[in-house]
Symmetry: C2
Subunit: 588 residues, 2 copies
């Protein structure tokens, strides 16, 4: 049973159907009148089929009806599938070998002329697309993006369910915890002056589920952050949320790899298991980022030793200073750029925190363009050429900084240069980055901050460093990196109330504040919390990468603009005074 | 690969495992020291296994460790599976034929003494259960309820996916539409004085998806209503939301039956297809409700004709009045009740809108107790006995009212009496109630109100009654009734902008207000909206019925109290002045 007005979709008729009587439904995409005949491309979510109205085949009324139809009218037609005339096959179309000779048409509705053409490659301003999203979604690419997302989500669910994970729904109206990102607040009517918050993630709730014995939990969870929006941020986003108990870190990573390989596999993307694991500091030192795209090289090199006796003071001083480094990358091909273009790279480097950008451009004619090379000895140049594998046309760029800053600057430049040079990035790239530091130093607030989150389990053999050298402590953490994006992240959780208290204290929480915000978690940990760990996959971002899109809005049905607006419904909007009064609020 | 600290769950060891070395993890449920041995029931989400610590088998350190463990400590043990000694099998336990002879124990955490016992049948106050929900969830019944919900939800997803439905996520931050139930508001920080609303349902969004060509949509959608809470209401609830386009009503109902039968089937509940369909007015007239439980009789009878010439004025007047009815039900067995108990039924009937309750109790000794029977002739009594199939011990109750009110009063009494008499209700009962009126009269607001919702498609052949007799118009609607509960509801939608405008006008919307609230929908309908219809299943309620629970809180991980509180985290809570200022609000 098809449970539809049609017998077939517009995407499925083939030569094998020739001679069949069929009924199709869909929208009039293109209509061409030619030689007394009317041709219509009929489009539904599955594809396109060519219809032909021939006054010698259909009756007069049908032909007249066909003359009235316009773009984007939904219609239902019946007719006979037949071979297209010699030479009129359309190889680009799955149904391109056939057409339907229509004998009956029912116009299901009319349509105003759409404000833009329903085509994949029409350059429509995004605000117009969003205002008329219901038309934008008819574009075949958007339809296929939504289908890809639906299919991938279901593949994940199948894999989790098959591995004995339970889907548990956690509440969306929860407690406000003003740490971290900003909460969206929801005023309570029944408890005036009190507010729920929409969850930034179900983190605390899933830990409580583990305390509650669920053992294997997953949820495709809507999360909310009231942050200023960037290209790949939305106020609400979706994460595939996971938690396991009675497990080690390897158990969790193993289970996740198994599930991810199964789900990606169903999308035709093969994961080689076990996935590579790169230690956090190795990723930073080699790629300058904790989410490296390893489909191309341009790795970071520590060239400090080469310049330990350099006449170039900047390099020599760094080499002589504990914790300072001279690091370099080689952007092959950029050495051919005009000097002005190379000089402009200093502005790019500044965005990543560099105070300037030392470089050497190795010209194809054997010459060298560089503001600093004059200070270098022949031996230094030779050593540098060897270390950086220099060829004509190369551009070597330097960062002179502390380890983390040098890494971050060159990591940013590596990414920028890869885009500028349009380095080929074939297929998909998956890896784990593991063992993040437990803390980093927050320079603004002058205190320790969690690298992942306050509930992360420190490495057991380093816990005694909490009071002496907290920045040296590593943690049971693992980020899932796909194509140079942080596609997911996870870690083992603290399951000991005292240790949780201690970590919160190091993060600057007074005992009172820790109790007020996370008291319910610490209470729960005292009732036999098991070892546990989990993960969250950024579904929007992964779908974006799978779809080959460059923005998560392309894989969301109804995204919001950078100012958080839904242009279609004009949300957010003003509300009535009565609505505000009911929740005991007034506008400032 | 098990990806866990254990080799087996606590629910799976059988006689066939005897002799195997195993590792188990779980919580200490019960511990008994007996004859120098320590017995522990180890519990995880899958079941319970008996452990035995014997100082002659395990080493001293292990035995001493075992002596320290207390209830609800999570532990990991290794040992050998062996047959239980003669006569010590526990048939009530799936693992009751074996025990594990422990040789190694690892205490994973300690636990404070829980505030209540982790047992299914301990009578703990619900507020304590909710405050320590993470302990309450460890009770085997709660674990199995969560698992049932997870399994059923997945079964639904499989069925929808298998029938070519696409899962599409719709936004949770949407536009406030102050009609219907009260919205939860979410203030916007970026647009001061503007608010999102959490969706009461994705109704408008799914219609827009149909305009956008999705054709078959489903979503397990969190919905929000800021209403005063009753037993089976929560501020956030979950509906399985469905919409289809290019369909007739029979297509939608057929597809739903197919999906529901598949999903319920996986839970061991068979749906006989096609499901019975009862017209709205037939359901009202026969069962006094639009969500009848047909597992028992006690049907409503129209006895008006019997009393057309009665000396009992109340009945005779009704019989002589257009639109007034005398209706009756027979509660078999209640005729044995003492008069005082029967008289108290008038209070119950008053809850359903009755001004009093006329009755006749047919005593087992052949006598009759009734305040009204003295007015009846022998013929009237004989006709009544025949019509109502009266036997000794029966209680016949009357309602004298307009059709709808008489139905509602007796429907309420029918339900009440079934509970009082503990009528057996075996298995599950499924049916459709179809063809609801398009409107009903809202006596408070003195205007028409939608019986289902403002977007419901009227019966095509009655549209011309919109101006002349709107209350007579039926609609393309279908409620899915399970065990006397409205488990789901749906309908075909208006896909014509002009008709939508007209219906909103009949509902009292000025053109301005219609445009302000639903303008984006009506705009969308003008761009070739296809015929469409859909459905929403109340997931919480259906899971409650499947679990045999009497409250939806029993199938939710973290429900809220009647005042909307999460007792565990103390949400909602006060927020800081800074948080309020950011969203340009102050407290009244």
């Amino acid at each position: 049973m098809s449970y539809s007005m049609h017998t077939h979709t517009c995407g499925e008729l083939r030569e094998s159907n020739i001679g069949e009587e069929v009924t199709l439904t869909g929208w009039v995409w293109h209509r061409r009148d030619h030689g007394g005949l009317i041709f219509v491309d009929l489009r539904d979510r599955a594809g396109v089929t060519q219809l032909e109205f021939d006054p010698e085949v259909c009756d007069e009324a049908t032909f007249h009806e066909a003359e009235t139809i316009r773009s984007e009218w939904p219609i239902m037609v019946s007719g006979t599938v037949r071979e297209r005339p010699e030479g009129q096959n359309n190889d680009k179309l799955a149904t391109g070998a056939i057409e339907v000779y229509v004998t009956k048409i029912v116009v299901l509705n009319t349509s105003k002329t759409p404000p833009f053409q329903i085509e994949d490659h029409v350059d429509t301003a995004e605000d117009v697309r969003l205002r008329y999203r219901y038309l934008d979604l008819r574009r075949p690419k958007m339809t296929s993006n939504l289908k890809l997302r639906s299919d991938f989500t279901f593949a994940l669910r199948e894999a989790f369910h098959g591995s004995d994970f339970m889907e548990v729904e956690t509440p969306s109206l929860f407690k406000s915890t003003p740490e971290g990102a900003r909460d969206f607040l929801v005023p309570s009517r029944m408890q005036p002056g009190h507010f729920y918050a929409l969850p930034q993630s179900p983190q605390l709730l899933k830990e409580l589920l583990m305390v509650g014995g669920v053992e294997r939990y997953y949820q495709v969870a809507k999360c909310f952050r009231d942050e200023d929006l960037r290209k790949d941020r939305q106020p609400e986003f979706t994460q595939v949320d996971v938690e396991m108990s009675f497990v080690t870190q390897d158990d969790v990573m193993g289970a996740l790899e198994h599930v991810l390989a199964e789900a990606f596999g169903k999308m035709g993307v093969k994961l080689e298991l076990p996935l590579r694991r790169i230690e956090y500091w190795d990723a930073m030192d080699t790629y300058g980022t904790d989410k490296p795209d390893t489909r191309y090289g341009m790795e970071l090199h520590d060239v400090t030793p080469i310049f330990s006796a350099s006449k170039f003071k900047l390099f020599a001083t760094a080499a002589a200073t504990e914790g300072q480094f001279v690091k370099a990358i080689n952007a092959k091909g950029a050495g051919k750029w005009p000097r002005a273009r190379i000089d402009r790279l200093a502005d790019v480097a500044a965005e990543f925190g560099a105070k300037g950008l030392a470089y050497i451009a190795f010209r194809e004619d054997g010459s060298v363009t560089s503001p600093i090379v004059k200070f270098f000895s022949d031996e230094e140049m030779a050593a540098l050429r060897a270390e950086m594998d220099v060829e004509p046309g190369d551009l070597v760029m330097f960062a002179v900084e502390s380890r983390l800053h040098a890494d971050e600057i060159l990591g940013g430049m590596r990414n920028h240069m890869a885009n500028e040079l349009e380095l080929p990035r074939e297929g998909h790239d998956f890896l784990w980055v593991v063992n993040f530091p437990l803390f980093h130093w927050d320079e603004d607030r002058k205190c320790l901050d969690s690298e992942h989150q306050p509930f992360t389990q420190p490495n057991e053999d380093q816990i005694d460093l909490l009071d002496t050298d907290p920045l040296a402590i590593g943690s049971h953490t693992y980020d899932f990196v796909m194509d140079g994006y942080e596609a997911g992240g996870g870690g083992m959780r603290i399951h000991n109330a005292k240790l949780q208290e201690k970590v919160l204290e190091k993060l600057g929480f007074t005992p009172e504040r820790a109790q007020a915000q996370f008291g319910f978690l610490m209470n729960a940990l005292e009732f036999g919390a098991p070892p546990m760990g989990g993960f969250a996959l950024g579904l929007d971002r992964v779908c974006m990468l799978l779809a080959g899109a460059d923005n998560i809005r392309e894989v969301m049905a109804f995204p919001k603009t950078a100012s958080g607006s839904d242009l279609m419904s004009a949300a957010p909007s003003e509300v009535t005074g009565a609505q505000l009064k009911e929740v005991s609020l007034r506008l400032l």
